[in-house]
Amino acid sequence: MMNKRDRIEIINDMLNIIESKGDKIKPTQIMYKANLSHEMLNVYMKELLTKGFITERIDKQKRRTYSLTEKGFNFLRDYKMIKSFVDSYGLN
């Protein structure tokens, strides 16, 4: 059985999924690929937007798509270090 992911792992998974799809990913795709419930998706998307990890775009058909910001890329780059520190002190 897989271990339950902690908050920082979920954020990393979501950002990796958004990065892999460039600028064209929709919220439902993130939800399925990150294996999240609709409620959890909303909570995490709101957090990622508020903290400036991702930006939202609305196209002509009023569809929302998401892309990574500089902060989001930095998080992915430093993820191993962040995770390592957080695990050491049981901060998750």
Binding site: R7, F85, V86
Partner: protein, 219 residues
């Protein structure tokens, strides 16, 4: 300043405390950096706890240095700046800063985010110190209880997540607990004062080793 320290250890204790203060400050600054990158609230709290711990050791180191330089020669004898008054100020500042650091660490490992719990822990701790008849004894008792609890939580963290880094932190806090317990005995026996410092030194070396592994991302 506050304990029975063997004469041959004068100066070494100041250096030890300075080292503990600097290592704690490095960990605090790194925790704030992790917070800026991840927005993990616990990382910021860890940063604050290590800032308090660092300040506590820097203050202790400063006052120990001040009193080792024969203060009677340059301090006034009967006013607010007398040796006795400064000694009490130094002692209380160190104790309060260190205990605030431990309270924040306890709050982190409790994993219950409630400001009421935090204020209750802090209130009881400060109340016990301010109204204690024997401040040193109460301080060492409280430190030992906090460190025993923190160590226990970090040992559990290691058992749930068996990595070198979690092991180092669990060992470090267990050594800090032993160190604190030895300071408890040091009020009457000089040798325990030295042993307490060495336990703390080993603990901070382990914290530093963990920091190095985190930077290296080496598992």
């Amino acid at each position: 300043m506050f304990y029975m320290s063997p004469s041959w250890f004068y100066g070494f204790d100041i250096a030890f405390e300075l080292v503990f203060g600097v290592i704690s400050l490095v960990i605090a600054l790194f925790a704030f950096k992790i917070y800026r990158k991840s927005f993990q609230i616990s990382a910021r709290l860890l940063g604050f706890s290590f800032v308090f711990i660092s300040l506590a050791f820097l203050v202790l180191s400063f006052f120990n240095l001040l009193f080792s330089l024969k203060p009677e020669s340059y301090l006034c004898q009967s006013s607010w700046c007398s040796v006795a008054v400064l000694s009490v100020i130094g002692l209380y500042t160190h104790i309060i800063l260190l205990l605030i650091g431990f309270v924040i660490l306890c709050y982190i490992v409790l994993k219950r985010r409630s400001i009421t719990i935090f204020l209750l822990l802090l209130g009881i701790t400060l109340f016990a110190i301010i109204f204690s008849k024997n401040v040193l004894l109460t301080y060492h008792l409280l430190s030992s209880i906090f460190l025993a609890f923190i160590s226990w939580c970090y040992i559990r963290n290691f058992l749930a997540n068996k990595q070198t880094k979690t092991c180092l932190i669990a060992l470090a806090f267990t050594l800090l607990f032993f160190g604190s317990f030895h300071f408890f005995l040091a009020v009457n026996h000089a040798l325990f004062y030295v042993m307490g410092h060495f336990f703390e030194l080993f603990a901070y070396i382990l914290i530093l080793m963990n920091f190095y592994l985190v930077l290296k991302n080496d598992e």
